[in-house]
């Protein structure tokens, strides 16, 4: 199940370079604009890829961590530790 507001945060950051700059300058100020649940917000603040991955589209997850400034190598290492998605979740 997707978390709407987490997805919206990632989508907005992907869509707006100026919001991305603001986010890198003061992450908490931008996060305050989104009604994230406490556990989701905590996962964002600690860059917890494994906790966030099941809640958003994988492309948005990747785009977010590019905007947030995580290196490709670091992201790859963290995402590879995430449990693979259930096959049925991709069925069309």
């Amino acid at each position: 199940m997707r978390d709407y507001w987490l997805s919206k945060l990632f989508f907005d950051l992907h869509s707006s370079p100026s919001l991305g700059e603001a986010y890198r300058a003061d992450r908490r100020k931008v996060l305050d604009r989104y009604p994230l649940s406490l556990d989701v917000r905590a996962a964002v603040e600690r860059d917890d890829v494994a906790a966030l991955a099941p809640r958003v589209n994988p492309y948005l997850l990747r785009f977010y961590f590019v905007v947030a400034g995580m290196s490709e190598a670091e992201f790859l290492a963290r995402v590879k530790a995430v449990a693979p998605p259930a096959a049925g979740s991709r069925r069309g």
Partner: protein
């Protein structure tokens, strides 16, 4: 009457643009050869209009509104907005509202229910194959977005039927027009998942074999079974399936395939030989 003059398919790995320097020389050579040949074949059929089928990459749509099929009927479309696509020459891309509207009406009459957009942004998926294939200036483009990005996806069978409908729409268009179709996406790749960076070459080769075999039912069965089990990016092969439907399920010709770990994508390029007349 309009005439279908060419059907093509191409991968659109973003790292072809933003990671090109990190690509091994052999891979670079092979990708350049394939993209150049794709562009040559596309230009050679002298299309008056190009119908291009590509996914959206969170540029036009979000999860509050995510169509399975969307047709761009605008006079113009916006060029790619990704910062790393800033060298791409396509900024304002001409559309073809008359053909786009005709395709929309044909789709509705064929029991499809596509969404409509009067202004789409054509992201790297649309632009990389054309840009790197040397297609400049662009012919007018009718963009069609298939949701290959976020489940639930349209079924593979529905995408094949969409292609068949598209061919019928072109045949029925009353004005003289040379129409080509380009499907953009695939082959195997995985983005933002635990399998990110892994390419399933055996799957890609089997896909290619199934396209060469031609039979739409066998292709649909194979992909319906396998796509849910491999990397998310392979969902884009739905666009190739639509192109296969446009071509009448025959004539597939591989231009090139390269397993490129540096690009995270099994890169494939193809065209379909169409019946004369």
């Amino acid at each position: 009457m309009a005439r279908l003059v060419g059907v093509f398919a191409s991968s659109h790995a973003p790292l072809i643009v933003r990671g090109w320097k990190s690509v091994k020389p052999d891979d670079r050579h092979e990708l350049t050869r394939s993209l150049t040949e794709l562009g040559r074949r596309l230009r050679a059929v002298r299309p008056d209009v190009l119908v291009e089928i590509s996914p959206d990459h969170w540029v036009n749509f979000f999860i509050n509104n995510l169509p399975s099929f969307c047709i761009g009927v605008g006079e113009t479309h916006e060029g790619p907005g990704e910062p790393w696509m800033k060298e791409c020459p396509y900024r304002v891309i001409p559309g073809h509202p008359k053909l786009a509207t005709h395709i929309l009406e044909t789709a509705l009459a064929s029991d499809f229910d596509p969404a409509v957009s009067h202004l789409l942004t054509l992201d790297h998926g649309f632009c990389i194959p054309l840009w790197k294939g040397g297609v400049d200036p662009l012919p007018p483009i009718v963009p069609i977005i298939i949701n290959d990005l976020e489940p639930p996806f349209p079924s593979v069978r529905r995408c094949l039927q969409w292609g068949t409908m598209l061919a019928e729409a072109v045949r029925r268009y009353p004005e003289d027009l040379r129409v080509a179709v380009l499907a953009s996406g695939g082959l195997s790749h995985s983005i933002g998942e635990s399998t990110m960076g892994e390419i399933d070459e055996a799957f890609d080769r089997e896909c290619i074999r199934r396209f060469e075999d031609g039979d739409g039912r066998r292709l649909v069965d194979f992909l319906s079974d396998t796509l849910p089990t491999i990397g998310n990016g392979a969902a884009e092969i739905r666009n190739w399936v639509a192109a296969h439907g446009v071509a009448g399920e025959r004539g597939f010709q591989l231009i090139g395939y390269r397993n490129c770990p540096e690009l995270y994508v099994g890169c494939g390029f193809a065209s379909w030989t169409l019946d004369a007349g």
